[in-house]
């Protein structure tokens, strides 16, 4: 009669137990940190797959408990304090170059991911209309759905949905409220006053009569045009009729292609 201690099969079975992979805990439990942002501190949640959630401290009553509750309501995942921010986050916030950061967008629909990817391509200090995003992702008719998807952006500030604004010169809605959106655009040196003046004058595109290129007014190329050479247009079609071609950087699209 053998007992378990000397039974070779039982002993060998005990050897089939395995140590859990070191990353298992981080796949289950997310971490949060508080870091300086462009308009006050931010709470940022992240896990093994990347950054998953961002809220301004002001929007969660300046409270980690409130941020954790908000995260739990949305993701139903555990969240605990992190020891340090994810690699590159603080530098990215300082320079405004947040495109290289890794994001965890698993809870989103493919449409929402497309919208955020397009919004993520808008450089700091520039703005694009909602319809531009809709066209960029090949869904020109889905302008309202673009607005909804931007409103559900889980990582605002970092994926710059605040750079998508209304065509009429107003900045439009924002997850943290319109005043915060205005403050963020102003912090990036977007001339909101000029945009409103242009919109009032029904000017939505700016061309250079020396290069023959037409841009969105906030495009870096448009801002370089000296006043004597600036030409305003209501539509890209008008500009092309006048012999201009759309800028390859800010990509104002022809109405006909919509």
């Amino acid at each position: 009669m053998t007992n378990n201690g000397s039974d070779p099969v039982v002993a060998a079975l005990g050897g089939l137990a395995a140590t859990a992979p070191t990353g298992l805990l981080d796949r289950v439990v997310s971490r949060w940190v508080r870091v300086p942002g462009p308009v006050g501190d931010l709470y940022v949640a992240f896990g093994a797959q990347g950054i998953s959630y961002v809220r301004t401290a002001a929007s969660v009553d300046d409270s980690a408990v409130e941020f954790t509750r908000s995260f739990r309501d949305r993701f139903a995942r555990p969240l605990v304090p992190g020891e340090r921010p994810p690699a590159g986050l603080v530098a990215a916030l300082r320079t405004g170059r947040t495109r290289q950061l890794r994001y965890d967008l698993r809870g989103l629909t493919p449409f929402e991911v497309d919208v955020l990817t397009a919004a993520g391509r808008i450089p700091a200090g520039q703005a694009r209309p909602y319809a531009w995003v809709a066209r960029e992702i090949g869904r020109p008719g889905a302008v309202r759905a673009v607005g909804t998807a931007l409103g559900r952006n889980p990582v605002p500030v970092l994926i710059p949905c605040h750079r998508v604004t209304r065509a009429d010169g107003q900045v439009g809605e924002y997850v943290f409220g319109t005043p915060v959106k205005e403050a963020m655009l102003l912090a990036e040196h977007v001339d909101l006053g000029e945009l409103r003046e242009l919109a009032k004058a029904r000017v939505f595109y700016i061309g250079s009569d020396t290069t023959g290129i037409v841009c969105f007014p906030t495009c870096a190329h448009a801002r370089r045009i000296t006043p004597p050479h600036r030409r305003g247009f209501r539509t890209v079609d008008q500009a092309t009729e006048a012999g201009y071609r759309p800028c390859l950087h800010c990509r104002p699209a022809l109405a006909a292609s919509a």
Partner: protein, 204 residues
């Protein structure tokens, strides 16, 4: 992988006081047993995914529990029940999506997969016990893994399997008997062990 009343009490008290911080302790305390069962029942391909998914489901269940229910939890059999339910769901889903490889190729389904004896042939040279375990019928495999790979007492094995202790015991011993014949029968030089393997054993 020993579980003690003290460990159980400490973990559930911490969970009840602070669900998220307590959950870190829960994962740390049980990740080895959860991962081992995921690996030996579900197979190596997706064991980490399965373990992570099971822990996440556990957290979501806890969100709906009040303090008393959390304090009354026996975390180890509770977690392992979730692992096995998660595994069964993923096998079922994989069946609906034929392009995906099922988690547990070596299930109880007739036809298809290799029999225990075929697996034994394949494992002959390496005497790979893991392969033999993987080829056991599901219930025997689960019972053997719970009892002898991660060392659960028979009462917890029965709780996870959802059957009486006696039934759990017989699943374990039938699985073990099969393994012992195949494993020792080929090891050479221990011929008489094959005979003794057929003698009913006393389970602790």
């Amino acid at each position: 992988m020993a579980d003690t009343d003290q460990l159980t009490d400490a973990v559930v008290t911490r969970l009840a006081d602070d669900l998220d911080a307590g959950f870190v302790d829960l994962v740390r305390a049980y990740e080895k047993v959860v991962y081992s069962v995921a690996l030996r029942v579900g197979g190596p391909g997706d064991a980490e995914d399965l373990a992570a998914e099971a822990f996440l489901r556990a957290y979501r269940a806890l969100l709906g529990y009040d303090r008393d229910r959390i304090l009354a939890l026996r975390p180890r059999p509770w977690l392992l029940t979730i692992v096995l339910n998660t595994w069964r769901n993923s096998v079922r889903e994989a069946g609906r999506r034929p392009s995906q490889v099922p988690l547990g190729e070596a299930g109880d389904l007739p036809g298809g997969g290799p029999s225990v004896e075929e697996a034994a042939e394949r494992a002959e040279t390496r005497r790979d016990l893991a392969v033999l375990v993987a080829a056991l019928p599901t219930t025997q495999r689960v019972a053997v893994v719970l009892r002898h790979v991660v060392g659960l007492p028979i009462g917890e094995v029965a709780a996870v399997l959802g059957c009486p202790d006696g039934t759990a015991k017989s699943h374990v011993s039938r699985g073990l008997r099969r393994l012992r014949m195949l494993y020792l029968g080929r090891s050479g030089g221990v011929g008489d062990d094959v005979g003794s393997a057929l003698v009913p054993r006393r389970m602790p």
